[in-house]
């Protein structure tokens, strides 16, 4: 298990809490490696993330590609307003829509 991702699973759901404050060239590899452990519903939690650059976006796209191939659902949780703006600019939100923690509760 990566020390950059804290994993939580219940039923078909995996919540991957990103514990690195930066999703960048340094943390990208460790984050991307987790895409192989996706569940039918996978949620990336950005609550501790204060910075994402394009190297980080590339790492997140590994999850998008894997989810599409597997028919899994991928969501983003606790995305800051700034990162919502960046995700909108590159249209990440189309492939990794936001989910509220309260919506996740129904799966627990």
């Amino acid at each position: 298990m990566s020390d950059i991702i804290r994993r939580e699973e219940f039923g078909d759901v995996a919540v991957l809490h990103i514990t690195s404050t930066s999703v960048d060239a340094i943390s990208a590899e460790a984050i991307a490696a987790e895409y192989e452990q996706m569940r039918p519903i996978t949620v990336l939690d950005f609550s501790e993330v204060s910075f994402i650059n394009s190297a980080g976006i590339s790492a997140l796209l590994k999850f998008v590609v894997s989810a599409r191939k597997s028919g899994y659902k991928l969501f983003a949780m606790h995305v800051s307003p700034h990162h919502q703006k960046i995700f909108k600019m590159v249209e990440m939100s189309r492939f990794m829509p936001p989910i509220d923690e309260r919506d996740l509760a129904e799966f627990r």
Binding site: A25, I26, F51, S58, V64, P81, M89, V90, E91
Partner: protein
């Protein structure tokens, strides 16, 4: 004019040093929190471009970052020690089905830079590439 210069080896860990400097400088310049985030991201992309594409990741080659405050203007010049680059694609680059199918998961950097700064220019020669970013202080920050 006030000037700060950093020279970092071509190792992505040092991009974080430049980013931290940009954050402090942007805040001191009076940018809003959101604009500081824009500045950090634009500089991060520029420095990573210089490391990866300019210096080809050769750690002994330096990336020079010069911050200059001149009145209402903050100008940042990012220089590499590469051999120049042909073409800089700043066209709108978004995630789409075709690029995902093709496994093309990169290439957002220059597009993001072009969207996040007030203006920029690229000068490239066989002696390397200089990317200049300019942001202006606004009376009403977005």
């Amino acid at each position: 004019m006030q000037r700060i210069e950093l020279n970092i080896p071509s190792n992505p860990i040092f991009e974080r040093v430049v980013r931290a400097t940009a954050a402090e400088l942007g805040a001191a310049f009076g940018f809003s929190d959101e604009r500081v985030e824009d500045l950090k991201l634009a500089i991060s992309e520029a420095v990573n471009n210089a490391i990866d594409h300019g210096n080809q990741g050769e750690v002994n080659k330096l990336v020079a970052v010069v911050f200059e405050i001149d009145g209402e203007k903050l100008e940042i010049r990012i220089s590499d020690q590469g051999t120049g680059m042909e073409g800089h694609d700043v066209s709108r680059h978004v995630i789409d089905e075709q690029s995902l199918e093709a496994g093309y998961l990169r290439g957002f950097g220059m597009y993001l830079i072009s969207e996040l700064v007030d203006d920029y220019e690229v000068n490239s020669s066989q002696k390397g590439t200089v990317l200049t970013l300019r942001l202006y202080r606004r009376s009403e920050q977005p």
